[in-house]
């Protein structure tokens, strides 16, 4: 978030216009998307990506902005969803009609209250203790949920009919695209609110707590109070995301509060990039699409997530957004031509390494987990077989060769990135 506060000069009419441009572009994109991808399943995908994007943005308030690693953020996603679900069920039972688009406000508000409570428990320290408390709280809530089937459902979860609250805003909420509209509007609201927040004094303080929690105390502020407020805000937006997910699928289960959800949002946010505001959105889109597409094609999709995560942790902690911004910086510096050979080599070596890794993993999955499907398998268009030594050797050589070639190239890239950032500020 330090990037956004850095490059905001004093406001004038001209700069206000340029600041508004990205938001206009995003709104326009949101309007155009369902027209381009109009089939029901595609809109369903967009809905999923939208809720995940909001979820990831909320997580980055903690991770990127305040430097807090929460291992239990899924709890608020789930709790928000359950609050929304029960709100709908109770209103439907009472025969009340209520505008469905306002339901996430209820879920978000409930999550906000719970977030204050959780924040009060968790915010005493940062770093490891914080991670541990959030883990403990999440496990506690998840384990306790099994004791209350009337709230959390048991195996089947809690379901509802989103049309039960009646029509409003010209929609009856039967078609998937109606939900898309709700999600798109809430995305704009949440993204706008969080962006605004990042530039408020409290937003500045969260960055300070991230950088040096001790020093902020010596400037008159309570780091604990800052963490608690950030936690509550993040919880609230996660609750909104959970409510939207509930509206989308018309069902809520304890799994939405479970370890997998907590892990998923961490993956999305970190891979997308914690150092730029829209990084998490990028991560949510990429991981979300991978999840939907890859899970059909290959049993190894979770493995790919894990490896991608490790790759980002080890090589580019600023994530995909960081890579994107580096690319833009390179374009601006005008030295793309000079660097083209290096970039080309990296692209080539990377592609070969990736191909090799994919081959090895697909072969391994077929040889192990899916052995019953037989040894023949088509990987990346190549006919391979788990029984054939050639297939394995091919994978090994590509992966090994690619990785070995990448090491020095990545070091060169690092130096380039370094000199670019120096060049920017000189």
């Amino acid at each position: 978030m330090s990037v956004s506060t850095l490059d905001t000069p004093a406001p004038g009419a001209g700069t206000r216009l340029t600041a508004a441009l990205p938001w206009v572009a995003i709104t326009a994109t949101l309007i155009v998307l369902p027209l381009l991808f109009s089939s029901n399943s595609m809109i369903s995908t967009l809905n999923y990506l939208g809720t995940m994007a909001i979820f990831a943005l909320s997580y980055n308030v903690l991770l990127g902005q305040t430097g807090l690693l929460s291992l239990g953020h899924g709890t608020f996603f789930g709790l928000g969803g359950f609050i929304a679900t029960h709100a709908i069920l109770h209103m439907a039972d009472a025969g009340v009609s209520f505008p469905l688009p306002l339901i996430p406000a209820i879920g978000g508000f409930g999550a906000l209250i719970l977030g204050f409570f959780g924040g009060w428990l968790a915010s005493g320290r940062g770093g490891m203790p914080f991670a541990m408390i959030t883990l403990g709280l999440a496990e506690l809530v998840y384990a306790a949920a099994a004791l209350f089937p009337s709230i959390y459902g048991s195996e089947e979860g809690v379901s509802f009919d989103r049309m039960d609250l009646g029509a409003s805003f010209g929609m009856d909420y039967g078609p998937t695209v109606d939900i898309y509209v709700i999600i798109a509007v809430w995305f704009l609201i949440c993204a706008g609110v969080l962006y605004y927040f990042s530039k408020t004094p409290l937003g500045l303080l969260t960055n300070a707590v991230r950088d040096n929690a001790e020093r902020i105390e010596f400037l008159g502020f309570s780091a604990r109070r800052v963490r608690m407020l950030a936690y509550a805000i993040a919880a609230a937006v996660a609750g909104v995301a959970g409510s939207l997910a509930a509206l989308n699928f018309e069902i809520m289960t304890v799994n939405e509060m479970g370890a997998a959800t907590c892990m998923l949002v961490l993956l999305m946010t970190y891979i997308g990039g914690t150092k730029h505001f829209f990084g998490p959105v990028l991560g949510a889109i990429v991981i979300g699409l991978m999840k939907i597409w890859l899970s059909d094609i290959s049993p190894a999709w979770m493995m790919y997530f894990g490896l991608l995560f490790i790759f980002v942790v080890m090589v580019q902690p600023a994530g995909l957004a960081g890579i994107l911004m580096d690319g833009i910086a390179l374009l601006r510096s005008g030295s793309v031509g000079a660097q083209a050979p290096l970039l080309g080599l990296i692209g080539l070596a990377g592609a070969i390494a990736l191909a090799g890794i994919v081959i090895l993993i697909e072969l391994s999955y077929r040889a192990g987990l899916d052995a019953t499907l037989g040894p023949q398998i088509t990987v990346l268009g190549l006919p391979l077989s788990t029984a054939s030594v050639v297939s394995w050797v091919l994978g090994l050589v590509c992966a090994g060769g690619g990785v070995i070639a990448m090491r020095p190239l990545l070091d060169r890239l690092d130096t380039l990135r370094h000199s670019l950032s120096k060049g920017e500020t000189a």
Partner: protein
Amino acid sequence: MSAEVITFSLLNGTLYGMLLFLLASGLTLIFSMMGVLNFAHASFFMLGAYFGYEISKIVGFFPALILAPVLVGLFGALIERYGLRRVHKFGHLGELLFTIGVAFVIEEAIQMIWGRSPMDYQVPEALNFTAFEIFGTGYPAFRLFMLIMSVAIFAGLALLLTRTRVGLIVKASLTHPEMVSMLGHDVPLVFMSVFGVGSALAGVAGVIGGPILITQPSMAAALGPILFVIVVVGGLGSLTGAFIASLLVGFIQTFAVAIDLSVADVFGLIGITQPPAALGALVSDIWNVSVSQVGPVIPYLLLVVMLIFRPMGLIGKRA
């Protein structure tokens, strides 16, 4: 609750606690070194179980008891050397995230190789008899063996750290790596070895725990959070604290399962058999809650309470 149940719960609780301690001690050592909790520690436990299973199929249980932990230890050392060391420059958060990633990938890899169903990891024939009888029920020799192994390993570790020169160097490197390096010792090697040995300890726990706890891909995810409860409650960095906390958690979980008491039973004692219907479904949920259901929740309650009131843990030096 009969004397029989109490006795068996005590035995099983101690056993479970010692197994947990075997895991927690490795985790504590690694934490003392890295300053970061190794999220992949339970995964090394799982690797130990799977390796133990495979190797004992080929050469028998007792050779597996040696070989499997060695393999896991080597794997751990490699992870430290080529992975963890690289992310050191990104600080504690980077290291933590790396270990999370490793845990994730190991779990996937195990499913990839062995599939998702539990493995038929049997208690070895040589130990498949009744050691003694209490109250007419036999106590399995294998469990006794597990207990003895855990105690022996712990004793060996304690001796190594306190009585040998190697132990001295390790302890010094944990707190003053630069100074130890100035004295001519290869500190990176020490770190790699500590990580390897810690992982091997987890592996041993896996080899002997595998036949009792079910060997399946979710065993790491089931045990992992409990492990963190133990090291945090015991006090990060304290082996004694981990010992106490391990036994505590072991007893809690074992006794909770044994106690077949529900809220309804308690109210039944004073003659109330049904909750008032007017109070709704929630109350009837609570009505049916039994202690054995609450069992899984208790360690986490303990964790949260400890973190609020005594963040340095029972015997911790730093919070």
